[in-house]
């Protein structure tokens, strides 16, 4: 760790480079995301934008450069420490990535259940609170397969928010949705 958590930006990329075989996908990429800032990353397909999220999560390591996330250098920390860091990060994937075998309630509670082991009244209150926020409290006991694509995306947002993460990572949160539903998702993000 090279910066204290308080002084560090949420994310810092310094001269990050990554290549697959002969294909250079990221070339000395540098940027910072300040605390409380929202940054939208654009680029055509193949520009390397989704790789930035994978690098920030420590899922892949760069060939060179430095990546600080919430004050920790994810290119250097041990895998065990990455688990702790990921606990402070909420992630919303394009495919929603809900567990099909779990109900909406269980999906949203998943990370809290991992920490506490049992589904208690406090977890139930928080699950209902975030589902109310995305206007889906009535879907508590439904399976993901019973939801529309937009509803699944809203459940994914609720699941990301329930731990009140310091950092949220969105991977194409409106990808594949119609314009009206896309606007609803953006409204939730705002």
């Amino acid at each position: 760790m090279t910066m204290t958590e308080n002084s560090a930006p949420a994310i810092l990329f310094e001269d990050v480079a990554l290549a697959f075989a002969e294909n250079e996908v990221l070339r000395r990429v540098s940027f910072r995301l300040a605390r409380g800032e929202t940054k939208a990353v654009f680029g055509v397909a193949g520009s390397g934008k989704s790789l930035i999220l994978k690098l920030a999560l420590g899922l892949i390591r760069p060939d060179s450069g430095r990546i600080l996330v919430l004050g920790q250098d994810v290119t250097q920390v041990r895998e065990e420490d990455l688990f702790e860091l990921r606990g402070k990060i909420g992630m919303v994937f394009q495919e929603s990535a809900l567990f099909d075998s779990l109900t909406v309630r269980e999906n949203v509670a998943y990370r809290l259940m991992e920490e506490h082991g049992i589904y208690d009244d406090d977890i139930d209150r928080r699950v209902r609170e975030v589902l109310r926020f995305v206007e889906l409290e009535h879907t508590l006991d439904l399976d993901p397969s019973e939801l529309s694509g937009g509803m699944r995306r809203r459940v994914a947002i609720a699941r990301a928010l329930i731990t009140q993460p310091e950092l949220l990572l969105y991977d194409s949160p409106t990808g594949g949705l119609d314009p009206v539903t896309s606007n609803l998702i953006i409204e939730l993000i705002v």
């Binding site: 990429v29 800032e37 950092l167 606007n183």
Partner: protein
């Protein structure tokens, strides 16, 4: 709500423009359009990648003023 940082990968420019020009209104519990000239409460920025390189990193005003032909075409 708590204040958090967010990094959003997207291919939809309009999503980010909407985020930069709207804010959440607690009274109506809805997103409302900000008056012209006003921008969202939290800092909002845009980063554009091209061929693995960062070709833009700045706010909405800087993006709108960019003279880069690729960026102008991208946001048009």
């Amino acid at each position: 709500m708590y204040k958090t940082s967010a990094l959003m990968v997207t291919h939809r420019l309009q999503d980010a423009f909407t985020m930069a020009t709207h804010q959440f209104d607690k009274e109506t519990n809805r997103m409302v359009t900000l008056p012209p000239g006003r921008h969202c409460e939290g800092p909002m920025s845009f980063l554009i990648l091209r061929d693995g390189k960062v070709i833009f990193d700045g706010d909405l005003q800087a993006l709108a003023r960019s003279e880069d032909e690729y960026i102008k075409e991208y946001i048009s």
